[in-house]
Amino acid sequence: MIEAQNLQKRFGTTLAVEDVSFTARDGCVTALLGPNGAGKTTSLRLLYGLLQPDGGKALVDGIVAADEPLAARHRLGVLPDAPGLYGRLTAREHLLYAARLQGLSAAEAEAHTAALLARLDMGGIADRRSAGFSQGERRKVALARALLHDPQNVVLDEPTNGLDVPATRAMRKTVRELADGGKCVLFSTHILQEVSAVCDRVVVLARGRVAAEGTPAELLARTGKSHLEDAFVQLIGTEEGLGA
């Protein structure tokens, strides 16, 4: 379970995250939806302890991320904004490295890597160097890396960004499977289709604040609209920065 309690973060004089509170439960896919610049990435970075909050706190399974970053990160699998692969390493080597960084033994690392390569259908790229990978292949490696230590909580920053249709569908399927397996999945997106396709709950972010929180159906009911798109436009007060 991931909890954000009145998170606040400023960069210089800009208030990137003003006041963000929400809960992402186990067995659920929670979407952090908002236009570009709403504070999604910054909120996620506060959750996985890359940034220190100026106010409020982030909890991962009850552990305060700012106080015990290592313990919190151990319970988190993170797919950041940029996949950040090493061009001279193969997909398999990326996974083995991540496994060792998370503290798995050599034998465990081998086993988990083999299992994930099979699960995400990565046999074809397992032993190729990542320099020549497509966007989809890169993101797959990054996702596999996030799931290696079988974390209870998975945080994905715009996971389908730049992916083609088959890759997007595969990513959504994986996300759904994780939640159905009892994991807590939190992902950020500015794409409405994504929300209706896989999400159980939605947290709508606008200008560094939570504009609304609930199931897609609840949000429709609250706004009195029949289409999610209309509902969101009303909730965030503008159409700017939303993608279809």
Binding site: Y48, L50, L89
Partner: protein, 389 residues
């Protein structure tokens, strides 16, 4: 040392080993030093004429048989001249030539100054030694003949020799080779700064440039382990470069000795180990310092430019030390790089190094290394470094 730090080390070493840029920079410099050494040794052997006969083309030897005989008695191998002596010297076929005009005999017998022409090209560096040798021989012949003429007239030759100058050039091939060998510590010193530089940059500024720093930091791994692992990988490349420089230098010296048995210089295993022991703390410091500075850079290129300036750092004390009067002050013993260079200079001049001084210097350098690593670790917590691209 944790398992995580070792995992970082293993990954970075593998990554760097596959990086042509890192490998060539570590290895090419290791080739460069010994190559220069080989060149210097070859030149120092060529520049010497110890005991070797001087080949000299003499035009008109029949005009001055006694002079030619004198030259031959003094290790000069008199050769027949080519058709055009001047052109041959101008082309560089001959370093020096002697022309004795037909009027020599008449002038000589009449005790008039007899003309001989010494033909050479002063702009050719290689010709200087044989020309000077020939000039000295001619002066000696002149003095001898002058003495004989004075004696024949009842005057002691002593009175025209108010001075007896004895210049004793003690330089031998061996000592000149030793001078060439003195460049070795400088190359070793540079190897400690260059060997792992690419790895140090690639694992810090390179990581920022690729945008892989964030995905690295989301793992449950302490920043300290990341820094240690990356540092160890750079150090490994550094030591590889230093060891290779040393090994190749050994081979060059061995080859040199096989070529010319009269070059008795050798790098003793003992001496080499002393240098290595001196340089080891520096080989640990250099990557730590480079990583710290490179982490401020946003790209590989930017870091490379900045670190090239850092390369000047080891050169500055070298310049300072080239002044003979330079006296090592106590505080200099704990200034990394400078302290090592003082010790190397002392070692080269054959002084025995006090163990306490060596320990003090090594300790200071290691402390500085730890400081750099600590600062790098702290820097990895800074949001601007982690996210700023």
């Amino acid at each position: 040392m944790t398992a995580k730090a070792l995992a970082v080390f293993a990954k970075e070493a593998l990554d760097a080993a596959r990086d042509r840029r890192s490998l060539t920079s570590a290895l090419s410099f290791a080739l460069f030093g010994p190559l220069v050494l080989a060149l210097a040794l070859t030149l120092s052997a060529k520049g010497s004429d110890d005991g070797q006969p001087l080949e000299l083309a003499v035009a008109g030897p029949e005009n001055a048989p006694s002079l030619v005989r004198f030259l031959e008695q003094n290790h000069v191998e008199v050769k027949a001249p080519p058709a055009d002596v001047v052109a041959a010297v101008r082309r560089g076929d001959l370093k020096v030539a002697l022309r004795i005009p037909a009027g020599y005999g008449g002038d000589f017998r009449a005790s008039r100054p007899a003309r001989v022409e010494l033909i050479h090209d002063a702009s050719r560096l290689g010709a200087r030694t044989p020309v000077r040798r020939l000039e000295r021989l001619l002066e000696r012949y002149e003095a001898r003949v002058a003495g004989q003429r004075l004696s024949a007239r009842g005057v002691s030759p002593q009175i025209i020799r108010p001075l007896q100058v004895e210049a004793r050039d003690l330089s031998t091939t061996a000592s000149r080779a030793a001078l060439a060998l003195a460049t070795l510590p400088i190359f070793l010193l540079m190897a400690t700064f260059l060997g792992g530089m690419n790895v140090a940059i690639d694992t810090t500024a390179g990581e920022r440039e690729r945008g892989s720093l964030e995905s690295l930091l989301v793992h449950a791994v302490p920043r300290r382990d990341l820094v240690l692992g990356k540092w160890m990988a750079a150090v490994a490349f550094n030591l590889l470069s230093v060891a290779l420089t040393l090994l190749l230098s050994f081979l060059v010296l061995r080859w040199d000795r096989l070529q010319k048995t009269d070059v008795p210089v050798s790098l003793s295993v003992d001496g080499a180990l002393r240098f290595l022991l001196l340089l080891l703390p520096l080989a640990l410091l250099a990557p730590a310092l480079q990583m710290l500075l490179a982490l401020f850079a946003r790209s590989f290129k930017e870091a490379q430019t900045q670190l090239s300036l850092l390369m000047l750092l080891p050169m500055v004390p070298g310049l300072l030390l080239s002044f003979q009067s330079f006296e090592a002050q106590p505080w200099m013993r704990i200034v990394p790089i400078l302290a090592e260079q003082i010790l190397m200079r002392d070692l080269l001049y054959g002084q025995t190094l006090a163990v306490s001084t060596q320990v003090l210097t090594a300790g200071a350098t290691l402390a500085f290394t730890a400081l750099c690593l600590g600062a790098t670790t702290r820097l990895l917590h800074h949001e601007r470094i982690v996210l700023g691209r």
